[in-house]
Amino acid sequence: MKEQIIEILKEIRPEFEFDGVENFFDEGMLDSFDLMTLVASLDERFAVKIDGMDILPENFANVDAIEKLVKRSRAK
């Protein structure tokens, strides 16, 4: 799943290397607009519906956080 998440992130911001980064927002790699694009891509690619209440920067800060969120969304 991690590889797929990185692939999605690179589709949005191809100029960055996302692996191993602790916080994409602090590093200026994602902004609030990218977050919307990212949620839409994750919903589609993993066939989930990420809850609107979960669309908070901390849930998308790094690859591990995103993976946890997708798994949680799948379980719902």
Binding site: S32, F33, A40, D51, G52
Partner: protein
């Protein structure tokens, strides 16, 4: 607070949009973001085309053109109007109220009640509530609710956060007492502690406009705007909508004695496609019951989006059938509210293009 009414109905609806259309494909050239990234965002948010007024056109110009059309077609006569409720965040002047300006231009009766309401995204719900309250009076038989805004004039074209989604429009809803239309349930709530999440900082008495307030600066995401421009904390507004609107609506439908599945159509404020889809998912409502295409066709015209969604998607249906609908607006204030009522059998439901006549 919750409100209940009986036997009141929207009997006609007109939407006025300016002829001038801007395309997102042109807007994105002004933003500090690569084209590919902007295109992805556009697909998610529904950015495509938005209608904005030409320089100098006021919201009341759109409304006046709508009224002239309705008078010319015999949809309504000026002397029939007992109350004019004008909801806007873009008044013609600080003084006088724009409803009074329209009253004079349209030749309304001296005893026609005129009221301006400063509301935005929830302005259709708040205005409709006011119309229902006025209709409780014996002397008020036809209340006319106008939602009109030209907020494109307050948004920086270099603000990717707001400019591609903003649109200008005026809508005119005729509201009357009508026997047998049944109970109406409404709920409107406010959170003034977060009032500044959506604002135009300068131009009022707190920060009068000056050469300094017109100076543009870039924010951390590269959007350029001045204190004279509209600014929105998009993340805060999104989180407010997701956290506060669904429980309010759950209370409202329960109070109305129905479930979400019993509602035929959800006409909600139209901030962007993404937010509406997430809201639909949260309420477990199919996307096709909650139109989300006003931003795509016209842009977000503040309080005018709910009637715009009705006319854009269901003009024929609303003139031929009655269904149970849920209106909901949320945003500026922060204000959020909803109305559950039977709606339909309109005498007319039409969209008019403003071409600068007057």
């Amino acid at each position: 607070m919750k409100y209940r009414f009986r036997d009141k109905a929207i009997t006609g609806l007109a939407v006025v949009v300016p002829e001038h259309e801007r395309l997102f494909a042109d807007d994105m050239k002004l933003f500090n973001a690569p084209e590919n990234r902007s295109r992805k965002l556009a697909m998610v948010m529904g950015y495509n085309a938005h209608r904005v007024v030409e320089k100098g056109v006021c919201a009341s110009d759109l409304a006046e053109a709508g009224f002239r059309h309705l008078f010319d077609c015999g949809r309504i006569r000026p002397e029939e109007i007992d109350a004019l409720i004008y909801v806007t965040l873009s008044p013609d002047h600080f003084m006088p109220p724009t409803s009074c300006i329209l009253h004079g231009k349209l030749g309304l009766r001296r005893d026609c009640f005129c009221l301006d309401i400063a509301q935005g995204c929830c302005g259709f719900v708040v205005g409709l509530l006011q119309a229902f309250q006025l209709l409780e009076q014996d002397g008020v038989r036809k209340a006319v609710l106008v939602n009109a805004d030209v907020l494109s004039r307050k948004v920086s074209p270099k603000d990717r956060n707001s400019y591609p989604l903003i649109g200008d429009a005026a809508t005119i809803a005729i509201v009357e007492n009508r026997e047998g239309t049944g109970e109406i349930h409404a709920d409107v709530r406010f959170d003034g502690t977060r009032a500044m999440a959506l604002k135009v900082p300068a131009g009022g008495f707190r920060m009068p406009s000056s050469p300094e307030t017109a100076v543009m600066k870039a924010d951390s995401e590269g959007n350029e705007r001045a204190p004279d421009n509209l600014v929105m904390d998009g993340t805060a507004v999104f989180n407010f909508v997701m956290a506060d609107v669904p429980p309010m609506l759950a209370d409202l439908v329960a109070d109305a004695g129905v479930g979400f599945a019993d509602i035929d159509k959800y006409y909600f404020h139209q901030p962007n496609r993404f937010m509406l889809q997430k809201l639909a998912e949260k309420l477990d409502v199919p996307y096709d019951k909650m139109p989300n295409n006003v931003v795509e066709h016209y842009g977000n015209s503040s309080g005018a989006t709910i009637p715009s969604a009705m006319a854009l998607n269901d003009a024929d249906l609303l003139c031929s059938k009655v269904g149970k609908v849920c209106f909901s607006g949320f945003g500026v204030g922060l204000t959020y509210g909803g109305i559950v009522m039977n709606c339909g059998n309109f005498d007319f439901c039409e969209t008019i293009t403003y071409k600068g006549e007057n």
